[in-house]
Structures are given as C-alpha cells and as structure tokens.
C-alpha cells in the first residue's frame, strides 16, 4: 500500500463517484432528458417540424418572467399563479395550407403543469392519450401535460383527424417524461359530479371566474397549500365543490373561519376534515348543502 498510494486514492475516487451517482434522482424514462435539467424549448418544438406534413414557420418565440406580458398582456398573473418559468411559441406551416401554433409552457413542477392544464380543459375527455392527460377539441385544439410542461396545439383551420395528435406525440416523445396528478384530485367525490373538469389551483385568481372570494386571499393560500374546484349538480342545482389541503389541521380551521366570516352569499356549507377545507358554493339551502357534504366521502390524501 505504501508503495502505491495513488491506487488507493483512485479506488477511493471511483467509489465516491459511484455512490454520488446512485444518490441522484433517476429519471422516469432513460431516453428523455431529466426534468431537472434545462430543456431547449425551441429544440423540443422543432420536433414537430420534422414530420412530413409540417414545417417550422419562422423561429420559436421565447418568453420568460420578464417578458411574459408581451405574450399574454394582463393575464400574466394567471401563469405566475402556476409558478411560470418559460414559454416557447412555434408556428408551423402545413403542406396543405394549414397553420398551426403550439405553445410549450415550462412551470416549476409537474403539479403546476397539471394545474395550468386543468385551467384550460374544455370539458370532454378525448379518446387518445398523449402525455399524462389530454384535452381535445377535435381538429382545432389539442393540449396535454407531461412532467412540468404544458403543451397546447391550436390550428386556425379544422385539420384532418390525427394531424394534431401526430405532432403532439412528436413533441411528447422528446419532452422529459413523468409527473403525477396531485393526490388531492383523488379526494373529489364522484357522486353528482357534472364533468371531468376540475381546476387544480394554488392561488385564488385561478378560480375567480367560477367563484369570487374577494381577491384578498381569505383562504390563506400559499406555497404549502393546494386546492381543487369541481362542478356538481345536487338535486338539480348547480354547485361548486372546493377542496383545499393545508399543511396542518389548524391552517384549515383558520381558513374555514375566515371563509365563514366573509359571509359569501354563494357559500352554502363548509367544514374541515383534518387538514382539508371543504366548501360547497351553491344556491342550495344550507341544510341540504351540509347534508350533501356530509354524505360524500372526502378523505385527506
């Protein structure tokens, strides 16, 4: 040993590297780049241009937190609410005169990407599945989310069946894979639910056009809380069910008190179940609303 200390040092370095490598997160799929790395958004969108029916129409436009307003004007806060990082916009020219526009949004986490996806769900689940969840207006629009990315393709003319899916799949192949729906989504009761659309949110602004809570964050939403809003029809009456999961039971109780103190006319019933605040917004009578709320299984994830 004393004659060849470099052998020991070399062995030491090799072992250290192996252990360090083992401690790194393992991508869910070996071929796509890791979601933690910097993804070349324009490069991803160029994958669509490699298909026979489409060619890139100019370069991708890139927007970050400083320039997002140039793309979305006064709606930038809607994207900051989902921890916006970057977005790339690419236009494509079809061989048969079609024009396509695809936006690739990079958010901070898969939950954020899922949230932005849910904000834009049109209401009808499509037959095909691209990414983790897909939403489609056949021939005109196709959206999906994957890892921490939300992708929406929109054509200005009705495209033949399969065209949008083909280009979306080409993009999905080169995006990082992975991402799971927030566990809170599974807590939504199936009974009386109108459709599969449910908005996953972090800030009140993401659901203000469905229920208005005053714009003053009375729910005390923050980085540690997550919410979902879904539509129901209870005894022939429309209702919104709101679930918010807080870090602690006490946080949920505080939010419940503030919500009740606000005396929102649309609030029919509310309670807490552990760290989850549940609130029903409807014109239902309070007793009927409370009774319904207690009849459905809502369990903290």
């Amino acid at each position: 040993m004393s004659k060849h200390p470099w052998i020991y040092l070399g062995t030491l370095l090799l072992v250290a590297l192996c252990v360090g490598a083992c401690a790194r997160p393992t991508p869910s799929n070996s071929s796509p780049p890791s979601s933690g790395g910097e993804v070349d958004l324009a490069g991803v969108l160029s994958a669509g241009g490699e298909l026979s029916d489409w060619s890139l129409d100019g370069e991708a436009e890139l927007y970050d937190e400083e320039t997002l307003f140039d793309l979305v004007n006064g709606q930038a806060d809607a994207f900051y609410a989902y921890n916006f990082r970057r977005v790339a916009v690419q236009r494509y020219q079809g061989n048969s005169d079609g024009v396509l526009r695809i936006e690739l949004w990079e958010l901070a986490t898969p939950h954020d990407a899922y949230g932005l996806f849910t904000r834009n769900v049109a209401g009808t689940p499509p037959a095909m599945s691209i990414g983790n969840d897909t939403d489609e207006d056949p021939g005109h629009r196709l959206a999906f989310w994957q890892d921490r990315y939300f992708v929406e393709a929109r054509s200005f003319q009705r495209l033949p069946e399969g065209h949008l899916a083909e280009i979306a799949m080409a993009i999905a192949r080169v995006l990082p894979h992975g991402g799971e729906r927030p566990a809170l989504m599974a807590a939504l009761p199936a009974k009386d639910r109108i459709d599969h659309r449910a908005v996953f949110f972090r800030l009140e602004i993401s659901v203000q056009d469905e229920i208005w809570l005053g714009g003053e964050n009375i729910l005390g939403l923050g980085p540690e809380s997550e919410g979902v809003l879904a539509r129901y029809e209870i005894a022939g009456t429309q209702a919104h069910l709101l679930l918010v999961q807080y870090p602690t039971d006490a946080d949920a109780t505080t939010a419940l008190r503030r919500l009740q103190e606000r005396n929102t006319a649309a609030l029919a019933a509310a309670e807490t179940r552990g760290p989850v605040l549940t609130a029903l917004f409807s014109v239902l009578e309070p007793d009927a609303a409370q009774s319904w709320l207690q009849s459905v299984p809502i369990s903290a994830p």
Binding site: M1, S2, P5, Y8, L12, V15, A16, L17, V19, G20, A21, C22, A23, R24, P25, S35, G36, E65, E66, L68, F69, V72, N73, G74, Q75, A76, D77, A78, F79, Y80, A81, N83, F84, V89, R101, E103, A108, T109, P110, H111, D112, L116, R119, N120, A143, R148, E152, R154, R202, L203, Q208, D209, E210, I211, W212, G214, G215, P223, E224, A266
Partner: protein, 407 residues
C-alpha cells in the same frame, strides 16, 4: 521557483487513515447526493411564491408645460405636457340637445353641468351579415349616435362641430396581438369616412395602438406616411415626463402628436380589471402597462392615466365597440376571443360612464351565457369609483343619461 514542502508532505497514508478518509469521502458523497436529491424534490413539490412581473426601469424626464399647437400634419416629436394630478373640477360643456354648433376644444371628459353624462347605445340586429359587418348598418348606427349625443340634427355637422379640418386626430383602437377580438375595422372605417366627410383630410387621421404588427394582424391597413389615412403602432416611440400612482411613465408619441383622440375600445372581460373598455384601452398608450395590473396600481392607475392632460384634454369622443365581446378570458391562446356576438356600439364624451354602461352590458351578456359576473363586477368597481372621484366622469348609473337606439 519551487515551493518547498512541509515536513509532512511526503508522509504516506496509513491503512487506518486511508479507511477513515474513504469512509468520510464516500459518506460525504452520499449525503451530498441525498441533499441534492432532497433539494430537487423540494423544488418539485414546493413551488416558490410566484413573482410579479418585472417593473421596467423608468427614467424620469423633466416635464415642460407646453400646450399642443395645431399644425396641419402629424409631427414625429411631440411635446410632453406636464404631469398633473387630476382634479374633480368640472369645465362647463354644452348640454346635449342645445344645438350648439361649436363643441371643439371644450373639454369633453367632464360631466355636464347638470351632473348627467349621456351615453348612447345604438343597436341593430342586422349589423351582422353572416361573418361580415354591414357597412350601411354601421353607418346608420354611428350617424344616429352622433346626432343623439350632440343634439345636432345633421351627422356631418355634428362631426364638423367636434373636429376641425386642421386638427390631427388619433384613433386609439384595441388590437392586442395574441387575441382574436379587436376593434372592428369596418366600424373604424365608418368613423374615418365620417371625419373625412366633415372635412378632415385623410392624412390628418392616425389609427394607432401599441405595435404596428398587431394592427396589421387585426386587419388594419398599415400606412406610415403614404397618402390616405395613417395607421401604425407606437412601436418604440414614447416620451417620458409623466407620472401615475407615484411611478414615472412614458406615453405614446402617436397620442402626443395629435390634437384630438377618438377612443374606440372593444368589449372584453379582464382577469385583473374585470372589464377592459374605454379607460383601460389607454394602457395601450403607455409603454409599461405591465407595471399597472394589480392592487392600487390598477385601481388608481387606470384613472390617473386617463386623467393625465395629454389623454384627458385630447379625448374628444369615445365610441365603444360591442359588436362582439369576450365574456371569458382564457389562459391559453387566444387569450381573448369573441365568444359573444353583439349588435351594439356606444358613444359618449364620458369614458367613465361609457365603462359603467359597458360593465352593465357585459354582465347582462354573462348572465345570458351562464357566466359568473361576480369577479368582473368586483374587480371593476374600485377603479370605476376612483375614476369618478378624480373627476373623469361618473360611473353612477343614476347620473347617466342612457339613450338606447333600436335601429
């Protein structure tokens, strides 16, 4: 020069030292790796608080109080007017219906002496012919509106009373690019025809918004300096020296280079303002609209912007385009799209009254389509109240003389 080594520099590692070092290094790597993993996981599961959009660096420019002079053609370099705090003092203006022929240069953005603001809403169920707007129907709507608003029986005379042939007239439209709802070109064409018919040379009329490219996309014929009506965006041509909500701002040279403004917004719901119509349309006259979209910045910013002399003193007419409307803003392209086919235009001298009437119209359309009105009404209320407080007009429906014309 070689550096001499210390006495231990050649000391060989003992087996115990090697094992100790190995353990420390391996364990350290594992811990570091775990920490890295942990950090990544934390980043993934705990998003940081979203940051507001960056506030652009603004340079305060000394303001010079120089009133605009009337010259035959638009100039490229306007003179800024002094920053001022809007006040609620009213300048007397002729009441509608008096038949007075010379309304020009009397400040239109004040309530009438009797405290009533007139808003005309002209409706024509046949204004849409399929996908196209009827030129004749629009002409009638505009003509009847201007006569009803001014009380002058003849439309040409009414236009001539409001705009002199030697004045440079800027028409502020809404042509936001990543949207599919814009001020309708046929409506603007009817207005520019009326101005020319009243003696205003086409070259004295400028249609403008934030960018030339967005005007082009919205269907306007861009014309920087050729014969005919001019049409281009502010692009990067702004002048500083103004301040709203305690922040320095720059205003469009398209606005500053004109003598009179006709504001022609299109009806849209807005995530932060509830409604975007007459007053908020001037966010497209400002270089940094992104800096005024939350809290007091929007609730006072909208009014203070419109209270700046270059906007307040130049605005001579507001024609609201409700030929389509956007009831539901979207969080993906197109961010605003026409999801309601309307049949109306509004006309007024009072932008606050225009917005109050427009909000009422928007809410009615939303109810008709089962869209919640709460956020729009709640978000619009503070800035409408503020605009009234600082004397830009009135948002109180009981103080508005709404004239509905069914054509």
């Amino acid at each position: 020069m070689k550096q001499s080594r210390g006495p231990d520099s050649h000391r060989r590692l003992s087996r115990r030292e090697f094992l100790a070092m190995a353990f420390t290094t391996v364990a350290g790597s594992a811990v570091a790796g775990s920490l890295l993993t942990s950090c990544r996981t934390d980043q993934a599961s705990t998003p940081s608080t979203p940051e507001p959009s960056g506030v652009a660096t603004q340079t305060r420019v000394s303001a010079t109080a120089v009133e605009p002079t009337i010259t035959p053609l638009p100039t490229d370099v306007p003179t800024p007017t002094a920053t001022s705090t809007p006040t609620s003092t009213s300048t007397p203006r002729p009441q509608s219906g008096t038949g007075q022929q010379d309304l020009v240069n009397q400040n239109p953005i004040v309530r009438a002496p009797d405290g009533v603001s007139r808003v005309v809403r002209a409706r024509n169920a046949e204004v849409w012919e399929g996908e196209a707007l009827s030129h004749e129907a629009l002409q009638e709507m505009v003509s009847r509106s201007i006569t009803t608003l001014t009380g002058i029986d003849d439309a040409r005379t009414a236009w001539a009373a409001l705009f002199r042939p030697d004045e440079r007239i800027a028409i502020k439209v809404n042509a936001f690019r990543n949207s599919l709802i814009w001020t309708h070109v046929p409506l603007v064409t009817v207005v520019t025809d009326a101005l020319q018919d009243a003696g205003v040379p086409a070259e004295n009329i400028l249609i403008f918004d934030y960018l030339t490219s967005e005007l082009e996309k919205a269907g306007f014929a861009v014309n920087h300096n050729g014969a005919g009506i001019r049409c281009y965006g502010t692009d990067n041509n702004y002048t500083g020296g103004f301040e709203i909500v305690g922040r320095s701002i720059e205003l469009s040279n398209c606005l500053l280079g004109c003598d009179a403004v006709i504001n022609i917004p299109v009806l849209k719901s807005h995530m932060m303002a509830g409604l975007t119509f007459a007053l908020k349309n001037h966010y497209g006259t400002l270089r940094t609209p992104q800096s005024f979209h939350s809290g007091t910045l929007i609730n006072h910013g909208i009014g203070e912007l419109n209270g700046l002399p270059p906007i307040k003193d130049r605005t001579r007419l507001i024609i609201g385009d409700a030929l389509t409307a956007c009831l539901r803003y979207r969080n993906s392209f197109p961010y605003w799209a026409p999801d309601y086919t309307g049949d109306s235009i509004t006309m007024s001298f009072d932008p606050v009254a225009t917005d109050a009437v427009a909000l009422d119209m928007l809410a009615g359309m939303m109810r008709e389509h089962d869209v919640s009105t709460d956020f729009a009404l709640s978000r619009a209320a503070p800035w409408l109240e503020h605009a009234t407080e600082i004397g830009l007009g009135t948002h109180r429906l009981e103080e508005i003389d709404l004239q509905e014309l069914l054509l």
